[in-house]
């Protein structure tokens, strides 16, 4: 069971969260993409072995959706490759 740091609540057990999967970028404007690009943005995920940016929803507590870097091999939650705690500005 992971321990996940919520920006609002601090270090909390995984059971309070729901995983929302890979931290895909905010939904693009479909009009600006080709059909192929749009399909890829919907379906293609990196499925990384190693540091993986992912979203978790603190649904059984404050409701915050947060983004973390998690190593999919060791489960270590660590700063990302660029040194940031989260791969994007927290929503």
């Amino acid at each position: 069971m992971l321990q996940i740091s919520c920006p609002w609540c601090g270090l909390r057990p995984e059971g309070e969260f729901v995983c929302l999967g890979e931290a895909v970028p905010p939904r693009p404007d479909p009009a600006a993409l080709t059909a192929g690009e749009w399909a890829a943005s919907l379906a293609n995920r990196a499925n990384i072995r190693g540091l993986h940016a992912e979203r978790w929803w603190h649904v059984r507590s404050c409701g915050r959706i947060l983004t973390i870097w998690r190593d999919t091999v060791t489960h270590a939650i660590a700063p990302g490759p660029d040194g940031t705690a989260a791969p994007e500005a927290a929503p």
């Binding site: 905010p26 404007d29 489960h75 929503p91």
Partner: protein, 975 residues
Amino acid sequence: MTARRLAHGGIIERSQPLSFRFDGMELSGFAGDTVASALMANDVALVGRSFKLHRPRGFFGAGHEDGVMVSRLSPRAATNQLATVTPLEQDATYVSVSTWPNARHDIGAAAQWFSRLLPAGFYYKTFMLPNWHLFEPFIRGAAGLGRVPDPAWEPVSESRFGDCDVLVVGAGPAGLAAALTAARSGTSVMLVDDGEAPGGRLVLDGIDDGGWVSRTKAELEALPHVRLLRRATVWGYHEHNLLTVIERRPADAPDLDFRNWKIRARQVVIAAGAHERPIPFADGDRPGVMLASAARSFLHRHGVLAGERAVLFANNDSARGAALDLAKAGAAVTLVDIRPDAGGTAAAALAQRGVTLIAGGCVLRAIGSRRVKAVEMRHADGRLATLPCDLVALSGGWNPAFHLASQSREAKSVWHHDLATFVASHGEGRFRLAGAARGVFEAGACARDGMEAGQAALRAVDREGPAIDLPDLDDPFVARSVAPLWFVPPRRRRDKVFVDLSGDVTTADLGLALREGYDSIELVKRYTTAGMGVDQGKSGNVNVIGIVGALTGQATERVGTTTFRPPYVPVEFGAIAGARHKARLYPWRNTPLTDWHLARGAVMYEAGLRWQRPGFHPLPGEDWQAAASREARAVRNGVGVYDGTPLGKFQLKGPDVGKLLDLVYISDFGKVAVGRGKYGVMMTDDGLIMDDGVAFCLAEDRWLLHSSTGAADRVHAHLEQIVQVHRPDWQVSVIPVTTQWANATVCGPRARDVLAALEPDFDISRTALPFMGMVEGHLGTIPVRVFRVSWTGELSFELNTPARHAAALWEMVMAAGEPFGITPVGSEANHILRVEAGYISTGHEVDGTADPHDLGLGALVSATKPDFLGKHAMAMRRECDPERFELVGLLPSDPDRSVLEGAPLTPDGDKVDQEGFVSACVRSVALDRVIALGLLRDGRSRIGEVVHARIRHEIVPLRVVAPVFHDADRARVRS
């Protein structure tokens, strides 16, 4: 009599005798015994049968490296309890498993005679034709261990959380020293040990510690920040230093079988010791053959001498200790050591104790079937001899127990030449290994190693730990200079050399697997099941790796190890579940009206997401169909009321609510006025319907959105992700209010009459409160929000009130409706009514593959909005694949023939790919016949055709019709 209890020795309570039964025998033991030690003390050597071949088996180990299970019939039925770690209980009745009628006389033992026909992979090879599934039930019946306990089983386990700065695994010399070092610094420590009392090898091997163990135990027990768990095994090392621990018969709760701990530790010291491995030889699985460490452990821990005439067979020094101990306890001992120079400095000590040493000898075969009677051996000069014996004790070297380190995924196993086994290589981040678990075997060195590990753990939590006084321990014989011997090749082809007793795996099976091309150790393991049994290969796995290396001509270290995964020891699912049983695991959700429904004899259904709702309210003598039809007729002809509370409800607030609704719904929501609502279909961005519902505009910046009961959590997550992730610049909040509002939905042609009788302080006329209108006001003194929404195809008022008023409102409705024959309606009647009206349902027609056009909702799709969720994917999919399953009505040719919901529709009913399916089928009260809805390929263009539902033994013809059976122009809904 060969195995017996000694008058002295062991950590049992001879003043507390316990009587028990095993396979019908009346026996006795002492408090402090395990089931295994008590059976040994009673000289019961044959205690079970092997899993596949039903060969007689006895105890091979004295702890978790053993695989003999027993079932306890009373007190508290429990199956598959590992006998070597299960505490003996007064008046308990145990039976052997994998046997019938019992271990001594076992019908299944006939399997041995056909063993040549039962090689690895036998079942899958033999029972392929015509079909594995034909044979599977019989094979499953013959295989397996004990029987599952009675269905009336109630949990006898509990769960607990724990946390500490330093968790120490194992209370041997290393673990005790680590725990004491850490504890003296004042930091919080948990010491988890699977023994009856701390001491580890110091107890099991009877090493004189000068009172150090009891002094250390007393000091630790006196410290408030230290917790000792005995009879407790760490079985999993999970992410972020969460360790799971199974505690058997907790000392503070004798009514519990197990307590399962989840402990978060900042630092872990793994001092789990090591497992001795055997030297496999022909028929070396006979009762009376065991590990040398097991014989030594039964002796020192339980005061049980495992045999009077012992042959020890070894390739390392550690067996000398066992030989001396057994001789001292009165056994006649012969030590057969494969090393020509085996005597060394210990020769004199052995001779003094009367131990016969045969250096350079090799044990070839065990003689005796239900119990070993002798061994056949070869002397160094090649001479064969037979040694009579009743105990064969094996030592093929020791395997450090670094399983937990491996489970952490931060350690790798590497070959250690001198110890002839694998040890762990790892960084020192969150755990460190100490003592035998990292290949340090000598007891005094273990204590020092443990202390240093304790100090290192303290440094990692920013503490200091001064050195402690270490005990002076005399432990001269440990497994160094091991001469690897992975197995003794059998002299006769028919002799079996078992390498894994739990799975009945022989050297021949390993050879077969390699010949058939399973050349990686991971494949050999899966094909032969070596290491996959009860003991998970704790003692045998390194031999398996060595043998695979020998057979393939590779160095052992090149073969590699299989992956270590939790659980380290067998753990019952019931122990993990603890008290989380049935509704305590996953509670029901009840509306404020559940009690009312139950008092009226309602049969309750789950409406989705664990919500309890009435299925139907039977009157005396009615079956479900009669009750459901009566309730549905009441709604069609008069008036009914149902509890709509479980419906998902979300309040959306903020200036950008309109943008959110226009993004998530397929229709335009911009033109909806305050006080009006709109039906909406919600798609995910992959262009498929997720849910449908209504949204009402309470104020410019405040909306109420209703979802299906079962989809409420999904819809919540969907909306939150849009608001928080995809459109964080929008000012909208999503507040789930499902349980805040109760809902009594009054429906039927007389619904307005009932509402009028409820003293509304608002206008309920058709013009003031039209279809899809809403109003806030009071019925008498009760505050309500009334929505004109219908899912029944009739005039309908959803009366929402804060949950605390629900019961009062419901009683009022029932009283006011009485003159009109108001009838409470359940899910079954709801289903009939919505199918007649042709309304779609999430989970039936909305099955995750349908888009709005498929379900005849194309008219709702906005033509003007440039974007909404699902728009683009839906367009792309329809362009690529215009042949879609479309919603149709279906009428069985026989009006009384109902069709199972979900039944496939296939061309002419042939056994070919389906062209659709029946999504719902009910007995209509409006048409007095069976009607159905379904999805059919190109269905809308096939109205009038006959299609076929393919059911198990029958093909049912159905005529395709429009998917509305009642009030097609919706005049009644809008009345």
